[in-house]
Symmetry: C2
Amino acid sequence: MTILSARSLGLLLDAWRDDSARAAYLALADRIRLLVLDGRIPLDTRLPAERELANQLAVSRTTVTAAYSELRDAGYLNSLRGSGSVARLPHATSRNLQDGAPGMLDLTKATLPAIPAVAEAAVHAAQELPSYLGLSGFDPVGLSVLREAIADRYTARGLPTDADEIMVTVGAQHAIALVSRVLLSRGDRALVESPSYPHAMEALRDAGARLVGVNVSSDHGWDENGLEQVMQRTSPTLAYLMPDHHNPTGLAMSEELREKTVALAATAGTTLVIDETMAELTIDPGTPHSPFAVHGVDGSRPILIGSLGKSVWGGLRIGWIRAERPLLQRLVRGRNSGDLGTPILEQLIAADLFSDFDAILAVRRRQLRIGRDHLLAVLGERMPEWRIPSPPGGLTAWVNLGSPVSSQLTLAARNEGVLLAAGPRFGIDGAFERFLRIPFAYPLEDLDRAADALARAWASVGRYTVPEQTYLAAVV
Amino acid sequence: MTILSARSLGLLLDAWRDDSARAAYLALADRIRLLVLDGRIPLDTRLPAERELANQLAVSRTTVTAAYSELRDAGYLNSLRGSGSVARLPHATSRNLQDGAPGMLDLTKATLPAIPAVAEAAVHAAQELPSYLGLSGFDPVGLSVLREAIADRYTARGLPTDADEIMVTVGAQHAIALVSRVLLSRGDRALVESPSYPHAMEALRDAGARLVGVNVSSDHGWDENGLEQVMQRTSPTLAYLMPDHHNPTGLAMSEELREKTVALAATAGTTLVIDETMAELTIDPGTPHSPFAVHGVDGSRPILIGSLGKSVWGGLRIGWIRAERPLLQRLVRGRNSGDLGTPILEQLIAADLFSDFDAILAVRRRQLRIGRDHLLAVLGERMPEWRIPSPPGGLTAWVNLGSPVSSQLTLAARNEGVLLAAGPRFGIDGAFERFLRIPFAYPLEDLDRAADALARAWASVGRYTVPEQTYLAAVV
């Protein structure tokens, strides 16, 4: 059981008091409820004792007692004999667990619907399947036909690659988790961008890592001095970075900083793990970056992670790892304790799609450009006080709300029928309460609906009521 | 980096001296090479210093020095500045990583080729796919249509089950790893059968567990007193058991012992995790057992794991977990850090196959009965000194060789073109050197070839030469 200290909960509760005339205990209960709902307080976590939390927050113990009691009544806390108060969710039902809570617009996921070509590729692949049915099917490395297609694409993008340097995974998250598990030991430091992708941070922590952060902001890009200092001071075992269309900001790292990052990593003995899931989802014209591993020298090139989850479809679970052979062999060996391979049919579909991948990307880029421009226009019109930088690529805008109300706004938006991931989900320790990630990879009518809901939520911040929706959202 | 103590390596090297006239250093090098090849010494493990190993084995330091030097020359050890001697594999190539090393008969996998119905189901599923393309595709729980089919099958087998109690996973190993990760904390005890399934033990260890074993033997079945004592003495956090066609012995647990196991677990506060991957692969006629969770009381029923990997095909990566709702919700939440869901198309194929699952099982059981009876006949004829109990179900025979030579025999069989997993891979700490798992779920001509190769290998034990094959086998 995880135990949450009063100090840690205090950090997560940053700016929990709203401006409403409501009693403080209700505001406190609401904020803790959101933290449970969006996963910042994992289920089965023990919350701090009432007296400790009261001291930490500088409120009366009665306030905390009343908030906990409210949460217990609503089913978000369990008081177990000798175990204190433990986070839970009320009434788990099939519906809560399912994709697309009915009636809600789910913007926790930065995804596009499948490209239609998937259907045709699936039919082709099903026809090819019989010639693979004689294999055991347990395939931790990946089919040659797919690994060659992935390698060829790297080569075409400027990074000569052999199929031997590729392994296929069940999506990018699976790849991140595998690399974390194989490379990290308990207590190792792992560098991440701040903000970064929540489930990558979870995977790194699951593997025992202590996270250290380097700031990325729409105003200043990557904090170059910060990167240098953190690398030198902490010598992280690995650094997980998204230089091409960083999630959530959509930024791309300059060539100069790529060179410098590789040099710093070499000095610090840090393995670079570069998530390029969004690398080809560039929106603004310009020279595309080559795969990150063009930098560096043989023997210590960065590990690259790729995926079709964003470019093609999330329901096609195909990702991959590009690594030099000795490291790739370690990763393949390490895989067996987690799963025994990637489905064969999925791989055949992916191989088929690579035969005309540029056409797929052209469709995607156009969809993303239209979505981005539309979202920026409608949000700018409705919430002129927000700062909404235009991301050059990726699937999300990283909006600066101007005040630390992201969690409040997210709660209020739930009541308006729109699910969003609050800014702090993208931080290491509850930062980014001033920010909100809004994906634009949705039909324009959904973006309009989201803007309407956000405008109402924005107007109501401080006056919202308690949602009973217990939707379990993965952020993608 | 993992560090292997001289004592631990000594245990792994149990009975490493063979009867040949070869120098001791060659025998030692061969045995260490096998341990690296079959994964008992993971890659990147640091081996003990020469002096320590020499003391442990009671040989001269020169012998160890010569053995290490031999291994270095062959590419199995790397001597790194300040890091001692580290296990590696020579010349990692694509071929080594691939399914089916050319020319070799791979009996490390207890699998059947796909049932032909998979091809047809894939075509159907591809036709259904378009109506799912509007979903995000990130599906950590599973499609309703499949969860209902799985629930219905449990209900039909005597365990009333609702789709809400099912989550779909990427095969059984993925389910085992997920349950381990969510339920275990560092240092917790996990009970396993001895012998047990190697990758399950790896998953439990990855999650921080210390393993405790309960003996299972073809002569005496499950060690009931041992189970009682270990449960009472160690109060394990979870117990991972395969009561129906235990891998590798093929045994089934009695109804009485199931009841007792549930009672013991309730007293010890142990969560039972029951792997029923092989539960429906019964060969000998008789009353089939109901799913294990018919035992116990609501609120603490055993977790069940199932899979189509053995009954249908390993290349169809569909497994599942049946658990009571609160626990299932924890597992779904915990999944995001490892992967973001099961492929949609695979799920549609699986749902299609469940519509006529009894027919599939009838085919499988017949194949298994024919394979088992054939293997027992040919091995009995060629190696009358082996003890080969007839397993009532499952895919493997657990052969008692009569002397502790399983690793030697496995090495020799490699030279004869047959890959097998040596007995100690199924033990917690290198036990079972007298045993060999031989799968019979192969075409009869392959079983004949295996018997020929094993007969030659058996005759040559002690006279084998060093294999250069660096095949990376997952044991399934």
